[in-house]
Amino acid sequence: MSGAAAPAAAPGAEPVVLRAEHITRQFPGTVALADVSFEVYRGAVNALVGENGAGKSTLMKILAGVMPPTSGRIVLEGEEVVFESVHDAARKGIGIVFQELNLCPNLSVAENIFLGRFLTRGGVQVDRQRQRERARELMHRLEHDVDPDTLVGELPIGEQQIVEIAKALSEDARILIMDEPTSALSNAEVEILFSVIQELKRDGVAIIYISHRLEEIVRISDYVTVLRDARLQAKAPIAEVTVPWIIRQMLGSTEPPKRRPRKFKADVPVLGVRNLTLPRPGGEPLVSDVSFDLQPGEIVGIYGLLGAGRSELFESLFGLRAEARGGVQLAGKDITALPVAARIRHGLFLVPEDRQRDGLVLNLTVGKNLSLATLARFVRFGSIDRASEGGEVLRIMRSLQIKVDTPDRSITALSGGNQQKVVVGKSLLTNPKVLLLDEPTRGIDVGAKAEMFRIMRELSDQGIGVIFATSDLKEVTGASDRILVMSRGQITLDIDAAQATDELLVNASTSKVAIGAGPAPLNTES
């Protein structure tokens, strides 16, 4: 594409509209951004790439006024600015489209677009008519002529994304931040989005574009900035950028050693999944006809983009989705109809993607979080025997090297990596046969990630089957024995990790074709 031509800057205007200088952001226990400088060019697509946890989201949140930097400054149109809030940043011309949609499903398209800054008559009454007309115009500009009175909850995800963009545009943003805007979109919707982006560029809007899809980056960006491990790794105009260059900058030159190929063969797979389907009312299934086997001690990495159905697959396996169809066998026993607690007793455990929301009980201590899934084991005469509970808790804290002085500390005092280890520790106390880890390294620092993978390897050496989901190429190729790639709810690639290449995986992750025949039907006796 020749979209890399010089951006159409207004004559005389400085090409850089926003400059973030030496931005550092610390969180308790981790540095999310270290001395990162970033320029945003007017009328251009400024791509920001990096692995999960590289600091993209943090930088974006700072630029959008969600959080302040610990140090560093932001210069907008030559003037230093401080954003008090998202609203403040929006007033100064910075709009943002979040990866997670921030829409109220119970309100209409028009109401969502003008939420919080209603168009009013005399400052009191909401001017519904004007909102409706403006919303119609905005949606038309985005080539989605949706009735502005439609409830957002009734729209498919792709159109909700468009509404989110319309919302950002409605404030006449000069700078529009888009965080993984295509992750939930169909190909046709992506094309429309790209034409919208071209149009916005012509209007002089600067776009900050974050995506995992490198082909997209190369196709529509004008400038590419790569973050790695919270630092600025590289920046270049698109003319000098290729997909392999981005991958090299993202991952670094040192490829992690691949696991030595190992042979797994057991009479009975420790986990057998057949034709698992999770229907979605009025849409393509979230998980579509998934079948695979997991051998004891095998580590299977599930690679896929956001919305590929990885979390939904895990939730279905763990019994959290009553509407899931298909068969699940654990060590030869059919667990398809069992509730969560019974699946745990049979030896399955899910370490959820969002620790804070799904994994931890924040009002309890470290120790009480660790023992929550195994309380029955510590009961003597009706009471929890604190000595045996404390002993097990300390044992697991030591073996996972959870860094805290005493299990009586509040769980909120721990860093992300240590919190993650607590969730894993809780699962290990249940003596699982199969461990499902959903994005186990999300939001934890590099050292903690390495430790996470060390723990996974140790568990597999003990014969525990491990399945982990990730959208990180380096992780999936470095830590797996076998890789499954998911796209649109289907498995599009099932490959030995030794034979996997980045290109194969990336292609499969956007493929629409499921692999052919899966493993043989499960023996349904027992």
């Binding site: 607690a341 959820p352 929301r357 924040l362 009002n363 309380l375 860094k403 002085d405 005092a413």
Partner: protein
């Protein structure tokens, strides 16, 4: 507190609370207890007979009623729920007991009336309260009704049932008759052991058992976990629905005890008895440091909270403060307690983050 922070391992996020902040936090944590001491001291100084043994016993008997309800309520609130029906259960259980003593269980098809003895009546009515609680729990879990609405509905149903039992009239003079073998009901309200009223002794037992369940058993741990994060609890294999049903049953059971004690003290059951008791129970729990968001609170705190409310209202009565002013003061105390609670949360966060 302070010594533990000193031991913190190097490299961990270290709490850096200053001594002053630590003291503030301690005062805030013990605020209910401090409030109780202040209230007692205040009335002891101003009302001459306030600390006399007779008055203390009377006050304790008043407090006990609310404390029973508040203990049950605490379990429900710890899971993040609420139970508005407990006051009506007090009325219904009292009426059921009154009806059983007065009319027995008529079995017209056999032409006989069975008069259960007092212990059987206690068992049946406690079961009744527990089952009503279970009904609340099923509404909340299986049918997904919001706890506020589910128990509001039950509140009306139970109150209506209490009124229906004797067509809105009371069952007076519940002493039983020797020929029916159902005497002894008033002992629960009037009896003493070594000078200590029976209701106080039962309260102590109930409070100790409740504190043990909340603090030491898997059920208690799961109650706190559900209040803190229901989904994480589910993912940890907690039978969330089952635990929720149990807490509503506990609340119903505790309300039934209160209902029996009230009826026994009056030697009569009145269908309107227990009206608005649920509010006093919620107030005691909140005053005692229970968070309405769930996951935080203790049985001990709740009992102290019930004493603060009870002592306050009895003391104000003794000082001759009008009932109208009493309500205003009670409201101010409750709101102050919640504000202090917020301050404690903020102070604790500051202490943690430094």
């Amino acid at each position: 507190m302070a010594s533990r922070t000193a031991e913190a391992v190097a490299g961990l996020p270290q709490p850096r609370a200053s001594r002053g902040a630590a003291l503030t936090l301690l005062v805030l944590k013990l605020r209910t207890f401090i409030a109780l001491i202040l209230v007692v001291a205040f009335f002891a100084a101003l009302a001459p007979n306030f600390l006399s043994l007779a008055n203390v016993i009377i006050m304790s008997k008043h407090v006990a009623i609310n404390a029973f309800l508040a203990i049950g309520m605490t379990f429900v609130i710890l899971t993040g729920g609420i139970d508005l029906s407990v006051g009506s259960i007090v009325g219904l259980v009292g009426m059921a007991a009154g009806g059983l003593i007065t009319y027995g269980i008529p079995l017209p098809m056999f032409g006989v009336v069975i008069y259960p003895n007092v212990f059987e009546i206690f068992g049946m009515t406690l079961l009744l309260g527990t089952l009503i609680g279970g009904f609340n729990g099923v509404l909340v879990t299986r049918f997904g009704v919001a706890p506020f609405i589910a128990t509001l509905g039950t509140m009306y149903i139970a109150r209506g049932a209490a009124l229906l039992l004797n067509d809105g009239a009371t069952f007076p003079n519940l002493v039983g008759r020797p020929e029916f073998g159902n005497q002894g009901f008033p002992v629960l309200g009037a009896g003493t052991v070594l000078g200590i009223p029976l209701s106080i002794i039962i309260l102590v037992i109930v409070a100790l058992v409740a504190a043990w369940v909340a603090g030491r058993t898997p059920l208690g741990r799961q109650v706190y976990a559900i209040g803190g994060n229901e989904r994480a609890s589910l993912l940890s294999g907690v039978y969330v629905d089952r635990v929720k049903i149990i807490v509503y049953m506990i609340a119903g059971f505790c309300a039934a005890i209160a209902g029996l004690v009230v009826a026994s003290q009056l030697v009569a059951s009145h269908p309107a008895s227990g009206t608005t008791f649920e509010m006093n129970a919620i107030a005691a729990a909140v005053l005692g440091g229970t968070s309405l968001a769930g996951g935080r609170g203790t049985i001990g705190g709740t009992v102290v909270g019930a004493f603060v409310i009870g002592v306050l209202s009895d003391g104000l009565v003794m000082m001759g403060v009008s009932e109208f002013w009493q309500m205003v003061i009670k409201g101010i105390v409750i709101i102050s307690a919640v504000i202090l609670d917020q301050m404690q949360g903020a102070a604790a966060r500051r202490a943690r983050l430094g």
